[in-house]
């Protein structure tokens, strides 16, 4: 069954869109990530223009992270003060990210920058996560106790001033790295057109040592707020949010996120991180191949914006 998308200006199969929403929603609910790094390339592959994809995906991510966030809220696994502080850094990061985005676009170097950043970022983050989680699983297999808290492993980050206590996460850290992480997520998200959840989750785990239990709910709240405001900003400035496409993605997405959230609770933290790491790595490799393999067609067409 085909439906015509009014903003993207092309017909698509409803069931294909619902299915894509469902699959990406499942992954996003399971890992507490937005799934933008999966959905945006999928839409572009369908023929939706990159600009419309990025803008529309932000509303889809807002919907799935909202549904996920409510589930985690009921389980009391959201650290509100931590999310608030991350958000403060995130807003500043988004502003500088948008500035860099505009500058690179003016220089005509945006595409290649996005391509290389995807490969580097996804490759490094995915690789690190796989290595770390495999080690953790090996330790558990050998019968060694799983070290949930490592008191001796305080790094220089824990020596920074302005320390705050986050009760629900049970951590006592400086506000400086929290704001810094928020800033990086906002910056990267604006430049690469992604929610940044797949970056935020490992950063919270490895740098701030937030326990896996609260990390996903907290990350979902941050994703919800940034993506909802990104939707409004994209719609107000570029008029590129396709509400029809968004609705179908959302309906699939929220249903998928519910099942994903449940599946995520049944899997141990290490395994969850291994799966996410493999997924991130796979997308990174895919982008890498796109950059290095000879393209099928050396030429591409793109309508000039406003031309």
């Amino acid at each position: 069954m085909q439906i015509y998308l009014p903003i993207a200006d092309l017909p698509v199969n409803i069931f294909l869109i619902l299915g894509m929403g469902l699959a990406v929603g499942f992954i996003s609910g399971m890992f507490g990530i937005g799934g933008g790094f999966l959905m945006t390339p999928l839409l572009i592959f369908l023929g939706v223009s990159p600009a419309v994809s990025v803008a529309t995906v932000s509303s889809h991510i807002a919907a799935s992270s909202c549904s996920g966030a409510i589930s985690y809220w009921r389980r009391r696994t959201i650290d509100i003060p931590l999310a608030g502080l991350l958000l403060a850094g995130g807003i500043a990061g988004t502003a500088s990210g948008v500035w860099l985005f505009t500058t690179l676009r003016a220089l005509g170097q945006l595409d290649i920058t996005i391509g290389i950043s995807y490969v580097l970022l996804l490759g490094i983050v995915g690789g690190l996560m796989v290595v770390e989680s495999v080690r953790a699983i090996m330790r558990a297999r050998q019968g060694k106790p799983v070290e949930l808290r490592r008191p001796g492993s305080h790094t220089w980050i824990h020596g920074l001033p302005f320390k705050l206590r986050f009760k629900r996460s049970g951590i006592y850290v400086s506000a400086v790295p929290v704001l810094g992480i928020g800033y990086i997520i906002g910056f990267v998200g604006a430049v690469m057109g992604i929610g940044g959840g797949f970056l935020l989750v490992p950063m919270l785990i490895y740098i701030l040592r937030v326990p896996t239990a609260t990390v996903i709910g907290t990350s979902m709240v941050l994703t919800l707020v940034t993506m909802a405001s990104a939707t409004v900003m994209h719609a107000a400035t570029n008029h590129l949010v396709d509400a029809v496409l968004a609705l179908f993605l959302m309906v699939g997405g929220v249903i998928g996120a519910q099942f994903g959230a449940r599946a995520g609770q049944r899997i141990s933290g290490e395994r969850l991180r291994l799966l996410l790491g493999l997924l991130v790595l796979a997308v990174g490799i895919r982008f890498g191949l796109d950059l290095t393999l000879p393209p099928e067609n050396f030429f591409t067409l793109r309508p000039l914006e406003g031309g």
């Binding site: 085909q2 439906i3 015509y4 009014p6 903003i7 200006d9 092309l10 017909p11 509303s59 889809h60 807002a62 919907a63 992270s65 909202c66 549904s67 996920g68 966030a69 409510i70 589930s71 009921r74 595409d111 290649i112 391509g115 290389i116 919800l224 909802a228 405001s229 939707t231 409004v232 994209h234 719609a235 107000a236 008029h239 590129l240 949010v241 509400a243 029809v244 968004a246 609705l247 959302m250 309906v251 929220v254 249903i255 996120a257 519910q258 796109d290 950059l291 290095t292 393999l293 000879p294 393209p295 067609n297 050396f298 030429f299 591409t300 067409l301 793109r302 309508p303 000039l304 031309g307």
Partner: protein, 260 residues
């Protein structure tokens, strides 16, 4: 003294003589629909063009018979064509050419191959056919103009052809009677909304003897139109509505699926 007068008379005779064939035949065309509506189920459309050739009483029909060329030109759009090149092992969009105001859609439908209808010079002069259509390029100041621009033009045409947006069909026009023809204009789902110029040319013995322009419009209506105009004119409200829709959908799902 008589020479100027003779020249004028000669010129007048020439004008009348040239104008005669055009007056001898009239070309009448009609489209099956002048306004194509884009609805939620829009998946491309075929618009049929009917035409008749009306001959003045006593006029002789041309020896080679009549030929028809239908050109449909969609809304114009400035498009960039990029060429990828390998730099440090990575394929980068390196060179680009900007095609200024290129037709977003172009169909050239004829009853037989263009080169059988008339000679190459006439085709070029009329800009008839994909090989002859003018596609003005804005030369990239960095790349310079030393490269054969043909490569970009060829790539542009073949990419447009892949999407069914540019097409040239030598059997696109069918004569149902000696002076009656029909042509179907295939509009793929990707067509832009706007005005499509339809130009029908009547050829006899390799020369254009009549020409009838008309137009068809592709437009959005109802829900499609509402979404498009709200997104354009009330961006902020539209964005707030989209964000609320996202939050409501998320909340609704969590209520429906609540099991604990």
């Amino acid at each position: 003294m008589l020479r100027p007068l003779a020249l004028i008379l000669l010129a007048a005779a020439a004008i009348v003589g040239l104008a005669r064939p055009a007056a001898a035949e009239r070309l009448i065309t009609s489209l099956s629909e002048h306004r194509v509506m884009v609805t939620p189920s829009f998946n491309g459309r075929e618009v049929v063009l009917f035409g008749g050739i009306e001959r003045e009483a006593g006029a002789l029909s041309p020896r080679g018979g009549y030929d028809i060329a239908v050109t449909v030109i969609g809304p114009r759009q400035t498009v960039v064509t990029f060429r990828k090149e390998r730099m440090l092992g990575i394929w980068v969009n390196y060179e680009s050419r900007v095609f200024e105001n290129a037709p977003s859609y172009l169909a050239v439908l004829t009853n037989r191959p263009l080169d059988a209808i008339t000679n190459a010079d006439t085709l070029r002069r009329l800009q008839l056919g994909l090989d002859n259509i003018a596609l003005p390029q804005r030369i990239d100041p960095v790349a310079g103009d030393d490269l054969p621009g043909d490569v970009f033009r060829k790539a542009f045409l073949s990419l447009k052809d892949e999407h069914g947006l540019y097409r040239q069909e030598s059997n696109g026009v069918t004569f149902v009677a000696p002076a009656l023809f029909r042509a179907s204009i295939p509009l793929p789902a990707e067509v832009l909304v706007g005005t499509y110029e339809v130009d029908v040319k009547l050829f006899a013995d390799g020369a254009v003897i009549a020409r009838t322009p008309s137009a068809l419009e592709i437009f959005k209506a109802g829900f499609e139109q509402f979404v498009t105009t709200s997104a354009q004119n009330h961006g902020l409200l539209y964005g707030l509505a989209a964000a609320s829709m996202a939050i409501l959908t998320g909340w609704f799902a969590s209520v429906v699926f609540r099991r604990d």
